[in-house]
């Protein structure tokens, strides 16, 4: 066992454990300090294998540090800092604890070198993050949280089954790339576990369900960690798995389609996560690591994850600010907020431009790597599909979200309008920092490209062809938006998604349980009570009777008989001592005589 190596997750988990003990006055300082320390720790990590612990027959590796885990660890720890800053004014300690345990679990997965550690932290993430949904406290939040938890635990079971089968086949628990050219059942089960967390359709319906329902700052945490950790897991474990490419492209388009239909701004963003993660999943699918194209694809997936964490976080921060200040998140109840919340608008706009891959913003330099990789790999349908999703992205996130919240027809209620204002200093600062990073990454490419796994990165996003092509797509989309503005006006709708199956199925299952199964159980219970329990109680009573009356009766009876005999004999005695002595001597003498006679015989 190696000497103690400070895991960044340990900093977050210890910070979470101690947070309830920190006095109220020092709490803000603690909230700022712990993620900053964790981030500083990730900066100071040396590549190598650390934190090996012997457990039963295995060696668990807690600290596998290489370029891939470093880039993910960096951005996730940074996001933890920004998201905690964003939620600094939340008073309920439990929310911070849940968020930090969640972030710690995610960091644990990133640096896990073996499948057991991966699984433990994987489950820890699910169990901690559900509280971020439950803390919202609405009547719907309870159901949403339970669905989230059940879906994630089911995914965890699939992952565990895959791990077990993999171990049986290879007798190795190392978290390395599984053989993707000959995928086995184990490969598919592990993939199922990973893609469920990555919200790949049809296993995606939990994401909009949960993320739209979480607390305003909980969503900022949620959007960053679960899906990107799953992307990391895919990148580490299944690079080049061909199935991921069509899945990723379908994801990208699917997310965009549903996002267009959404009325709730945060659910829209949640569907949009699915779309963006589709890029990353497709990138991982293209990542046949022996070829330069594959390396470009994996670089692109990592870069896109990095950028996405930042701009998605920024978007959720913006819409979360609207929700927190006004209490509303649906387009049909908002609009025209610009005069009241200009800064929030600016930051959300920056997020929207980043996500749309506008030149000079972060999405531009990352998304294009994946698209280029798919074209270089001669998968034209993948490349065009991803570009189509791009257009849709700009349509709703870059245009619809800012327009229908801050401009357009003012459908706010009086109360909403009264409450609207730019949020507090911590939220504004968090958004400012994140927005600044989005712009910085977009403008100064070596910052992000220098962190990517496969160096040197020769890809150059700012070519005149590429800028022109991108601007074409985006500006024509904008034109289309304004031309069709009336058609795009939000309406209060609920989109049916694949969760319809398990929500309906759940209700049917409950009817089965309450009906036939309960009747059977009641019948069995009655039988058990009549035949079993009553018989047992009767046997117990009879045993007690046997004990008290029979055995004790015999014993006590014997004692009573002896005493009665003694009473009788006592009546032979009279008060005179001499008489008793004579009798005793006479009996003894007779006894001795008898004995002598017997011996002499």
């Amino acid at each position: 066992m190696s000497s103690f190596w400070l895991h960044p997750a340990l900093v977050m988990l210890a910070g979470a454990a101690l947070l309830p003990l920190v006095p109220e006055r020092a709490r803000r300082g603690w909230l700022l300090l712990v993620p900053a320390l964790a981030f500083a720790r990730t900066l100071g990590l040396e590549p190598g294998t650390w934190g090996e612990v012997r457990f039963l027959d295995w060696t668990l590796v807690f600290g596998r540090v290489d370029r891939l885990s470093l880039v993910f660890g960096y951005i996730l720890a940074l996001m933890a800092v920004l998201a905690t800053l964003y939620g600094l004014h939340v008073r309920r300690v439990g929310e911070h604890v849940a968020a930090w345990v969640y972030a710690g679990g995610s960091l644990g997965v990133i640096y896990a070198g073996d499948l057991v550690t991966l699984f433990v932290f994987w489950e820890l993430m699910a169990l901690a993050s559900v509280f971020l949904i439950w803390y919202r406290g609405r009547p719907e939040s309870l159901g949403a949280g339970y669905r989230y938890l059940l879906v994630h635990l089911a995914g965890g079971v699939a992952l565990l089954a895959g791990i077990v089968l993999h171990y049986q086949a290879t007798r190795s628990l190392a978290f390395e790339a599984l053989a993707v050219d000959r995928p086995t059942l184990a490969t598919y089960l592990v993939m199922t576990g990973f893609i469920l967390n990555a919200a790949v359709p049809p296993l995606h319906a939990w994401l909009p369900d949960a993320y739209g329902e979480a607390t305003f700052n909980g969503s900022v945490f949620l959007c960053a960690f679960t899906t990107k950790t799953a992307v990391y897991a895919l990148a580490r474990g299944l690079p080049g798995l061909d199935l991921l490419v069509p899945l990723g492209v379908i994801m990208a388009v699917y997310g965009v389609v549903y996002a267009v239909l959404e009325n709730d701004s945060r659910r829209l963003l949640a569907y949009h996560i699915i779309s963006q993660v589709g890029y990353m999943v497709a990138g991982v699918g293209l990542a046949d690591l022996d070829t330069p194209v594959g390396q470009l694809a994996l670089n692109g997936a990592c870069a896109h994850a990095f950028a996405h964490i930042l701009y998605k976080g920024l978007l959720f921060m913006g819409t979360g600010a609207v929700l927190h200040m006004t209490g509303e998140s649906r387009f049909t109840r908002l609009g025209g907020l610009y005069p009241k919340m200009p800064w929030t608008f600016l930051f959300t706009l920056i997020g929207g431009l980043s996500i749309s891959a506008f030149p000079l913003f972060s999405g531009f330099i990352s998304k294009s790597m994946i698209v280029t990789a798919s074209f270089e790999d001669h998968r034209l349908w993948a490349g065009f599909g991803l570009m189509l999703a791009s257009a849709g992205t700009f349509l709703h996130t870059g245009l619809k979200v800012p327009y229908f919240i801050w401009f357009g027809e003012n459908r706010c209620s009086r109360e909403t309008w009264e409450r609207a204002a730019d949020p507090g200093w911590n939220m504004t600062l968090a958004m400012l920092l994140t927005a600044a990073l989005c712009v910085f990454i977009g403008c100064y490419t070596p910052y992000l490209y220098g962190m990517l796994p496969f160096q040197p990165v020769t890809y150059q996003p700012y070519t005149s062809y590429h800028v022109a092509e991108t601007l074409q797509v985006l500006l024509f989309t904008a034109l289309g938006f304004f031309l069709f503005l009336k058609k795009l006006t939000p309406e209060p709708t609920i989109s049916l998604d694949t969760d319809w199956f398990y929500r309906r199925g759940g209700r049917a299952f409950l009817r089965l349980a309450e009906g036939p199964v309960r009747a059977l159980d009641a019948w069995w219970g009655e039988l058990y009570r009549r035949a079993g329990l009553a018989g047992l109680v009767r046997a117990a009573r009879e045993a007690r009777w046997f004990d008290q009356s029979l055995i004790d009766g015999a014993v006590d009876g014997l004692a009573a008989a002896v005493r009665a005999g003694g009473e009788r004999l006592r009546s032979l005695q009279r008060a005179h001592v001499q008489e008793s002595l004579w009798v005793a001597l006479a009996v003894t003498a007779l006894g001795l005589v008898g004995l002598l006679l017997y011996r002499a015989w």
């Binding site: 117990a540 045993a543 007690r544 004990d547 055995i551 004790d552």
Partner: protein
Amino acid sequence: MNLPEPLAQISWLSVLVFSPLAAAAVAAVLRSERAVRWWTLAATLAVAAASVPVALGFDPTTPAFQFVEDRPWIPFLGARYTLGVDGLSLVLVLLTTGILPLCVLASWRYITTRVREFMLGLLVMETAMVGVFCALDFVLFFLFWEAMLVPMALLIGVWGGPRRVYAALKFFIYTMAGSVFLLVAIVALYLMTGTFDLRALMGRGYPLAVQVWVFLAFFVSFAIKVPMVPFHTWLPAAHVEAPTAGSVILASVLLKMGTYGFLRLSLPITPDATRLLAPYLTWLSVAALVYGGLTALAQSDLKKLVAYSSVGHMGFATLGIFTLTRAGLEGAVLQMINHGITTGALFICVGLLYERLHTRELGAAAGVGKHVPVFAGFFGVFVLSSMAFPGTNSFIGEFLALAGAFEASRPVALAAVPGVVLAAAYLLRMLQKVAYGSPHNPDHAGVTDLTLREGLTLAPLLGLVFWIGLHPAPLVRLFAASVQHLLEQTLGPAAVPPAAGP
């Protein structure tokens, strides 16, 4: 024996056996009740502390007797003063010295009259009990065996409940009747071999008929002590009427003397008879298990319920012994220790409840748990332990005993399973009633929760429940070699498979 000089020079066992007696002599002249209580507590704690070097200096790798002291005593009889411990006696001595301070603590407020005499009785009992476990000479053994009868009878008869005289007499006469047979067996063995030394009497290869008679004589005496069905009826009476400390000593230590007698005397001295009769005795043990469970289920008096549960638990111990397998024997010894801890704790809990409610009826105690949550917590853990819940100490013992039974005879093991279920039934019923009751509970408004002293009394037992339950290996290692040796003596060396790794 691995003790550093000068500690190795001390006759530790004599110290352990006679220092309570010396402390009793001092307590006899103390003036105030307060001084007597504190002095007794200090003395019992000191004896417990004195048993620590013995435990540390004990060498668990050898089954030979250690800390042996051998001095001439009654030359014309041939009786010598021989003390010694092996793994088996050591754990029982530790149990005894450990439980006595807790008995003193439990009697702190319970005993209000004649406190000095009560504490004297406790101390004299401690001498007798430790003496029984350490004695290696039959006369000495019998002396200590009988010596514990009188203080116990007094403890029950003077400070007990309404029917205390009846219970005390019943206990005394019952046990003495059994001891008569023990005496006959001792004399018979002496006449055959000319020695009273236990070590010399073992493995002599007596003719089978002799062995059977001696075994039967031993059996009556020990079966009454254990108690095995149908010689058990003194137990409910004695337990119910005894004061808390008396019940604890009775359950924790005195019952173990019966099984100790089987292990120390019946198995090594009369091995062929043991092998011959063991199958019948396993069935008798199973009967005790099931019968104890049934009768406990029918009880509404808390103390009687726990008393009958003792019958059931000791059924497991004897079952383990008479399977004559390693798992069974280890399980039996573990069960002895665990039963001492758990049932002692349960009796303390019931005593605490009685001090508050002045009744032992289950119905009257219904729902009291809500007012005394700390007590309910302790009580719940001990009930779970009594039920052999995994993670608690009794689970290991019962599991091993059942494993041994399964090895020896599958029908016996299967027949024992209902006993386990019954245990769960009556214990959970008791716990449910005490902790929650029903919507119509009696009014428990003024009932106070555990004081610090009472918590301190129960805390070590709680710790032991979990420590032995989760990490039994150090304890088992103490007596594993002795059990192995005992098996070899009973079955013959060739029949015993060598011990598995640590």
